[in-house]
């Protein structure tokens, strides 16, 4: 007895309804996660944007012997509390470097103190009402305004929010990543090549494989402890240095690179290997001339994503001391240094409102770098997907 279309349709209705319901549910999940992302990014942009602006005021600066002794004397009493203390601190140095300035008075834009900055940005601040009047007057004259905050991108950390910048941390991140990359890219790729192309398939290699996969899931803070115990305590690598940070992150990134490289190698069809063996290639020639060129985009993509992950890592670096207060960037591998996420962490724990915007600004810079790296990975993959 076959069923009529009517009977079949009646049964189908229920199935179609369920199908539609699942479609909406899955779509809802996507919308929800997209919404989280949008809210997060827009919140960060709104909070972080002010960090890229800094109040400056135009004042007369007197350069003479007296102001060299007592820098506060360089600016008239009315404006003195509005100018950043950091400006006064470097004033004598500037006069020493440039003796031609001595005995002159210059009208120039100087960085304003943080409360002025906060006042101009419409935030809560510690200015007295008379100081506010002065600032209002300056604004009317066009002598106080928010300008692009170059300081943020050119200096290191500071106790004065108006002088704090991300540059030292960015350089620290760069140095650390150089160490990480130099260590874990060659070791990771070679390990993967051995496991995929040379190693016999036996119990030992299977155990190694399982453990590498497990290693990728180990909480990163444990790698920090390992780095502390091995590199700092045992080998005496200077703590807080990009060297120890990079080596620690290399431990963490190594399994990621090994796994992604193995996946890339495995995706090379065996027919290419057979062709190469067939013309008399040795195993290494097969790998070097045929397998690696084809799998290179996959290897690079995996490695970049692994490095990007390491770049955003904070916990293991805190353990090896990379949360140091670093006012000036150092280009050596052994000096104390900090990295962007650690810098963000430091700012986040400061009480001043001005540091809150630095935190968000730092996150924006870090996000921009990470998005750039991921875009680079995608671009590399597309460009070299088929490399002839």
């Amino acid at each position: 007895m076959s069923q009529s279309f009517e009977e079949i349709s009646a049964q189908l209705k229920k199935r179609h309804r369920r199908s539609a319901r699942m479609k909406w549910l899955t779509m809802g999940a996507l919308i929800l996660s997209a919404a989280f992302l949008v809210v997060f990014i827009s919140d960060m942009v709104v909070r972080g944007w002010p960090a890229f602006q800094q109040a400056q005021i135009q004042v007369d600066v007197t350069y003479n012997e007296q102001s060299k002794e007592i820098p506060l004397a360089a600016v008239s009493e009315e404006f003195r509390p509005l100018v950043s203390r950091g400006f006064f601190r470097i004033l004598p140095l500037r006069m020493e470097d440039n003796p031609a300035l001595m005995g002159t008075t210059k009208t120039q834009w100087v960085i304003a103190d943080s409360p002025v900055d906060q006042y101009l940005k419409g935030n809560k601040n510690e200015l007295s009402s008379s100081q506010r009047n002065v600032v209002d007057k300056l604004v009317k004259q066009g002598r106080a305004e928010l300008k692009f905050n170059t300081t943020f991108f050119t200096t290191g950390d500071s106790k004065m929010p108006e002088l704090a910048g991300i540059a030292a941390a960015a350089i620290g991140t760069m140095m650390t990543m150089l160490v990480t990359m130099a260590v874990c890219f060659p070791i990771g790729v070679m390990t993967a090549v051995y496991l995929e192309e040379f190693a016999p398939d036996n119990k030992l290699t299977q155990i190694i494989e399982i453990n590498i996969n497990n290693l990728a899931a180990v909480p990163s803070i444990l790698f920090g402890l390992l780095g502390l115990a091995i590199y700092i305590s045992f080998f005496g690598v200077p703590r807080s240095s990009p060297l120890v940070g990079g080596l620690t992150l290399a431990l963490m990134t190594l399994p990621v690179i090994i796994i992604s490289t193995r996946a890339a190698l495995r995706s090379v069809p065996d027919s290419i290997r057979h062709a190469a063996f067939g013309v008399g290639c040795s195993r290494w020639q097969v790998v070097r001339d045929h397998v690696l060129p084809v799998s290179l985009p996959g290897i690079l993509t995996g490695s970049i994503i692994g490095l990007a992950q390491a770049m955003g890592e904070t916990a293991p670096l805190i353990i090896v001391g990379m949360v140091a207060f670093i006012p000036e960037a150092s280009m050596t591998l052994t000096d104390a240094s900090t990295v962007m996420p650690a810098q963000i962490f430091t700012w986040a724990s400061q009480p001043e409102a001005a540091f809150a915007e630095k935190t968000a600004g730092g996150i924006l810079v870090l996000l921009a770098v990470l998005i750039f790296l991921n875009a680079l990975a995608v671009w590399l993959r597309n460009k070299f997907e088929r490399r002839w």
Partner: protein
């Protein structure tokens, strides 16, 4: 070549003593009569022996895939290996250039002799062997490189050419011999995979002959191709046998009949019959071969 030069095993013992290879123990290695299958050649044959296989057995783990194969492959002939799926003909083919080495679980017993050397001997380098025994695979598998590079790669790797001009010449000659030159001479630097399937397979043949091997193994070289490309490859095999010894696996009995001088019939890991192709297709000596060839199973 003359097909009557081959006789079945019963006469082989007497004749092989006067064959050109008699000095190389072919007599003592001759298969036992109760196996009843192989045919060795007699004194009228002018070809030389290229590969000699004696009592070759092969296991994948515990599974025996080949048992006691005995076969003589003659230089400058086309030898076809036929038989139903899973009969071991491809496995046997891969024994000749030790491609089975790539599979961990394989164990091999017996003799595969080429040019007086046991290819499975400890001292035999499989890279050296594969240089003399080229291979063309079932699915065209050009390297993901340019057409030129596909051909030039192996000779350069083997240090056969030093100057760019020599290399160009070698590439042209190999492509001409593979009957591909006129189709690709204007696009040598385009990817090898941009060619059609049949062209790709001829490119693979050019790649194999570029290192000037003695033997070319072809593992069902036309099974992925259309009839016209198949015909081109078959013509090519006929031409190439002047310079090379060709051993081809085929599922297609008509193809074996068309291109092969000798045909070996495999069944369940054993070689049932090895004979001149004409003889095999007109008057096979064994019942199994006859049943297979007449399409009673397959």
């Amino acid at each position: 070549m003359n097909d009557t030069t081959l006789q079945n095993f019963q006469t082989a013992d007497e004749t092989s003593s006067t064959s050109p290879d008699a000095g190389r123990e072919s007599q003592s290695d001759a298969p036992t009569p109760d196996k009843g299958q192989p045919v060795t050649h007699n004194e009228n044959i002018e070809e030389n022996l290229s590969v000699r296989v004696r009592d070759l057995s092969l296991w994948y783990g515990n599974h025996q895939a080949l048992s006691d194969i005995n076969i003589d492959i003659f230089a400058n002939t086309v030898t076809a290996l036929i038989g139903p799926s899973g009969c071991g003909k491809s496995t046997f083919l891969r024994c000749l250039n030790r491609m089975n080495d790539l599979i961990n679980t394989v164990s091999i017993k017996g003799l595969v002799e080429m040019d007086g050397h046991d290819v499975n001997a400890r001292g035999m380098d499989e890279v050296a062997l594969r240089r003399r025994v080229g291979m063309v695979f079932q699915k065209p598998n050009p390297f993901p490189k340019s057409i030129y590079e596909n051909v030039a790669y192996a000779p350069r790797m083997h240090d056969m050419v030093s100057r760019k001009a020599d290399q160009d010449e070698l590439v042209e000659r190999a492509l001409r011999d593979a009957g591909l030159w006129n189709e690709v001479k204007d696009k040598l630097h385009e990817p090898g995979t941009s060619l059609s399937g049949g062209q790709q397979q001829r490119l693979c043949i050019a790649r194999a002959i570029a290192v000037q091997p003695d033997v070319i193994l072809m593992d069902e070289p036309t099974s992925a191709l259309d009839p016209i490309s198949t015909a081109t490859i078959e013509d090519l095999m006929d031409k190439l046998k002047q310079d090379f010894t060709i051993v081809t696996v085929t599922h297609n009995m008509q193809q074996a009949a068309r291109v092969a001088d000798y045909t070996a019939f495999f069944h369940l890991g054993e070689m049932i019959e090895y004979n001149a192709t004409k003889q095999m297709f007109s008057n096979p000596h064994t019942k199994k071969a006859e049943d297979y060839i007449t399409g009673r199973y397959g």
